[in-house]
Structures are given as C-alpha cells and as structure tokens.
C-alpha cells in the first residue's frame, strides 16, 4: 500500500497546515494554546518542543478531535488536512480518519492498548475498521506489522496480552498499530519519555527507518532537545501555549533567537566535560489565570523591556526561521553586554 499525499495536492504542499489555533479550558480567563500555527510536509519530521503544560498534548488531541468534551473548546483556527478542516469535521468523519490516514502514538502505550485483548487482534481490528479485507488478511497484516517493528518471534507474540510485554515492546506494538494502515500523518506525543535511553534509542531508530520507508509525515512532540536534534527536520518551540520560535533544526540549534530557546538550551547539562555552573531560567511558567497580556515569557525573561507589554509577532529572522521577540536578534539590541 503506497502512501500518497492528500488528493490534488501539489508535490510539496503541506500534509497538514495549522493556522491560528487557540484552545481554552472551561472557565479559564486565557487561552491555553494561543494563536499557534505550523505545517508539516510529506516525509518531513516536525518536532514540537516545550516544557510540560505548555499545550503540546492538547494541541495534538484537538487535531484528532479528542479534546475532553465540554471541558476544552477550540476558540479559533483551522487545520487543513487533505483539503478539509479537521477542526470543523463532524466526529464521525474524524473517527474515519483516525488510525487510517492520521495516526497517533501516546506517551503511555496502555492508554491506547486494551489490556484485555490480544495484541494481534487489536492490530487486526484497526485494519478491519478501515480496509476492505478479510479477518485472515487483517491478521496477516498484524503479523507483518509486528515484524516491521522488529518484535522478535512476531508470530508467537500475536496472542500475547499487553501486560505480557515490556514497556519498549508495548511502544513497538503501538507503532505497529499506528502504521498498520499506512497513514499520511503520524503524530507521536512523547513516545519515548517513559523509556530507558537504550530502549529510547531503539524506538527512535525504528520510527526513523519506518518513516523513511513509507514517506509518512511525522509530528514528534517532545521536551527532550536531544531527541529533537536527533530526528527533526523542522522545530517549533512552544512556551505557555504560543510558538516562540520556529525553523529548520540546524537554524534552531546554531542560531537560536528567542530568549526562551536560548535559556532552555543553555540550562541542559552537557554529556561533554563540565563547563561550570548551569545557566538557569529564573522562576516558572505562570499559571493560566496569571498569564501576562504581552509576551508570555516576560516575567522570566532577562531581556524584557518596555516593548514586551505587547505580544510580539513571529518575525522572519532567516530562511524560513522565525522568532517572536521584540528584541531579536539580541546582540544588536543589547550590544553593550555582548562584549
């Protein structure tokens, strides 16, 4: 089953284009995700990176139509996928897309694996739900997928229950399920955060290989800059529900522009020889009922000045590299301290 870009799309048009997405929880005085835009192209890996609570998971859930109903609401935005706006589709149409043309992998595999069904049946089920195949064919597909995600002795594992597998194996099963119908877009929400580094390396390798084979577009949500550096083509850095910087992975690491990106990168300890005390970003993310009206990073930003009372727009600072800071590039605004 070859993967195709959405119907009628020109060759390098985005698989998914999100524009001005805002989400709000019931009773909250401000948007938890605020004016977020990003796009991902065929075969491309977009990493969305940010600290816990910045809105990564709710963003992913909103695209899949999985926000908790009555609790969270889409305030604005469009998410164009295959010519349709995901945010405007009825639940039934979204259910047809999920697990077929768009798939999602969660941090905790047990949230999407049913503990009381055999894993082979669970994979076959998702194939049967979306494809005109027989039970036998679906089962064969399940085995093929378990082999593709390199589960040893796959044919013997089809009848295992999820609890009989290790954390790493469960994550492989999740990936097998997510890719069983050759999706055009895969959204992975911290798929390796709960795993040991050795197992994480296996899973990242696997995702990269499978993506290369199939040409699937990948949105990888993570808080780990190491994982970002490892697999991203493009990066979107989020802070408190907004995109603060966005660009090709090399630009983000070699030419970081936003104070938050810079602070985040310099507070990660290095695996190289120690180079003194860690830099830190003071304070913490403001609570939603205490969100500044202007730049949301202002209370923690060492560069904050009078202009920061107004929210800065994302501005172009290099080839397809944008940052939302009034004072970027910082060295020209703060020349005196640079020397």
């Amino acid at each position: 089953m070859p993967t195709e870009a959405p119907d009628n799309a020109p060759q390098n048009a985005p698989v998914l284009e999100v524009q001005d997405l805002s989400l709000r929880f019931k009773g909250a005085p401000a948007n938890i995700v605020d004016g977020l835009s990003f796009a991902v192209r065929p075969g491309e890996t977009l990493c969305i990176v940010g600290e816990s609570g910045c809105g990564k998971s709710v963003t992913a859930l909103s695209l899949m139509g999985l926000l908790p109903r009555g609790v969270a609401r889409v305030m604005s935005g469009t998410a164009i996928f295959g010519g349709q706006d995901l945010l405007a589709l009825p639940q039934r149409a979204l259910a047809d897309l999920r697990g077929d043309r768009i798939s999602m992998i969660f941090q905790e595999p047990m949230t999407s694996l049913n503990p009381s069904y055999r894993i082979g049946d669970q994979i076959a089920e998702i194939v049967l739900r979306h494809r005109p195949v027989t039970r036998t064919q679906a089962r064969a597909r399940a085995q093929e997928m378990l082999e593709r995600v390199k589960i040893p002795a796959a044919s013997n594992r089809l009848d295992d229950y999820p609890h009989e597998l290790s954390g790493g194996m469960r994550q492989r099963v999740m990936i097998a399920m997510a890719l069983a119908n050759d999706p055009v877009l895969l959204i992975a929400d911290e798929p390796t955060t709960a795993l040991d580094v050795t197992i994480q390396a296996q899973i990242i390798d696997l995702i990269e290989d499978l993506q290369k084979e199939s040409g699937t577009a990948l949105i990888m949500i993570t808080h780990d800059l190491g994982v970002v550096a490892e697999i991203a083509d493009r990066v979107c850095v989020m802070y408190a529900g907004r995109a603060v910087e966005e660009g090709p992975v090399a630009a983000i690491f070699d030419d970081p522009q936003h104070p938050y990106t810079i602070g985040l990168m310099s507070s990660v300890p290095s695996v190289g020889p120690r180079s003194g005390r860690l830099a830190t970003i003071g304070g913490m993310v403001p609570a939603i009922d205490n969100m500044p009206d202007g730049c949301r990073f202002a209370p923690r930003c060492p560069f904050a000045g009078p202009r920061c009372d107004i929210a800065p727009p994302l501005a172009e600072l290099g080839p397809s590299h944008r940052a939302a800071c009034h004072y970027a590039p910082l060295e020209s605004a703060f020349a005196e301290a640079a020397g």
Binding site: Q200, H223, F253, P269, S270, G272
Partner: protein
Amino acid sequence: MSLTTRDKIIETRAVTKRFGGRKSLFKPATSVSAVNGVSLAIKRGETFSIVGESGCGKSTLARLLVRLLTPSDGAVLYDGNDISALSEQEMRRLRKDLQFVFQDPFSSLNPRMSVGALIEEPMKVHTTLTRSERRQKVADLLNRVGLRPAFANRYPHEFSGGQRQRIGIARALASGPKVIVGDEPVSALDVSVQAQVINLLEDLKSEFDLTLILIAHDLAVIRHMSDRVAVMYLGEIVELAPNDALFDKPLHPYTQALMRAIPIASPHGRSMKAALSGDVPSPLDPPSGCRFHPRCPHATDLCSQQKPAPVPVAGDRTVACHHWEKIADDGQSPVQEPPRSPNAEKRFALFRTRSQQKEPTTATRP
C-alpha cells in the same frame, strides 16, 4: 588505591537484597536479588552516582546504603561501624546523619501537614532546638532553598514540582545530615527548573559539607554533577570509575552501549544508534555467567559460563568483564558533543550575563 576508614563514609561488603519468596528445593526461585553481592566504598565529601536501566536495582542499593532497607546478606558500614544489624531504635540516631530526597517527596509525605510542619518534624526528632528556634530554622531553610518563609503555612498540593523538590531538600537538610541520597531528585522536573535544582544541590553540598549519593537515569545530569559513577546492570555493579574517565573511555560493553544511546543535543552529532538490542532480562531468572551476555556484542562461550569478577584497573576504577582489555582497544570515544556555533555561544553568554544582572540568585519567585 586503598582508602582509610577516615576517607570512607559508607562501605558495603558483598551486600545483597532479595525480595519475595524463599528459595525451595522443589519450586523454581521466586525471589529477586535486586542487589547482588555489591562491594563499594563512598568517599567522604564526594558525589557518588549510580546509573543503569529501570529495574536494575539503583533505588534498592541506595536504600541499603542508608539502611532504609536491611540487607539479606553482606554488610553496610557507616563511619567504619557495621550498621546492617542495628535495631530501629539504634538506627534513629543515625537517621539524623543519613537523609533521603525522593523523586517526588510528597508522594511519600502527609498531605495534611503544612510545609513548615514537614520541615520542622526532623528537627523535633533529632535536635534539642526550642520551638521558636525551630521556627526560625524552618524560615532559614526555606529561604536557603529559594522559597519564601511565608510558604511554611501552605500545603504541599499548592506547589509546583520544582518547589516541592526544594521543600523536600529543605526537609532533608533539617536534621543537619552528613549524607544525602537523591533518588532521581530532578527527573520529574522540566529542563529549566531541573537546572535550578541541580545548582541548588551543588551549592548546598559545598555549604554543608555533604556527601551526595545521586541516582539519575539522565547521563548528562550524572556527567555534570558526579565525582565517581557506578554503572549497574541486573543488581550488580559492572563498572565503577571517576566521572571523566568513565565518559572519556568506558571500559565495560554495557557502559559503552549506554553512552552510545545518549541523544546529543546537536543536529551535527546525530549519532544515537541503538547499540543494544533486546530488553533487560527478568531479574527473577538472571542469565548465567555474565548477566549481560545475552545482549553483549562481545560475548564468548566463557561469558555464559563464568561470572566475571570486578577487577581493579589503573586510574582508581574497576570493571567486571572477561574481555575488557581486548574491547578497550577498539579505541572509540562514544560520547562526542560537537562544538556550539559562534552565534549560539554568543547568545548563551549574553543570556548568562543578563540573567546575573537581573536576578543575582537562583531563587524562585512565583
């Protein structure tokens, strides 16, 4: 190198901890040796770290070191005295010296106690301070870990992860300890907050002359904070070495594999390759011989038959592998962090300078 008793604050001799059912002649073993015959010595004033995959016995070993667990076999010595068989009563005096910081301190603490009461409690047990002296010390400690003294009247659930960790640290300091064990003290924290707590731990360690025993699964945190590092695999220490030596030239195949799996935060160093296949075997039924042999790329017949003993190696280190000398010769240094770009360097420096101008301490001010 031989250490005198004065240098060694904690020592273990072939310490073992088994959990679960007793071995019987008729049934297969149902007990797990979570820690299996570990001998090590922790130097006064050092930061000693333990790394390894989930379930390898790090927490169990750490708890044995400060007698939060009683060994099944072997001995644990504190200041040269065997503490493995002390009664609860006798241990009470030592508790003052040996404190523990958990991954999330409040999962194990009474949510109905105020922060002040939580920090005061160890002082009540271990010191003769008066009520008002204790109150004063609570305020001092809160201040020292970067929190407002007024927080003493609030309750745990009102705080963020980073703040809770600071409160946990203040509580651990309250009795005036000599040793603090941190079991993943920063793992649950976000990067920016993690850096604050790492700096705080380092400051407190030198200010209070502490010995720090650190468990972390993040090898970058280990590299940044440790003096020496012990690498554990299935309940055993497979390599123990000074920090830089271990990262510059890991000798044991397992250490090498761990290091190759570290994701490097630079797009020019895309090197992370799954060096290890398979999962950690069940500790219920550990492999024969070298416990690492089913996953080891260098394993020979000898490895599945005979357990390698830890051997001393030049440079104050030990390694437990039959073939380490041959393996060491393949000469690759697995952890390479490419240099930062000039633009990144420049802006990091600017960020540091501005942060220091704006905020002289690392204190959190919510």
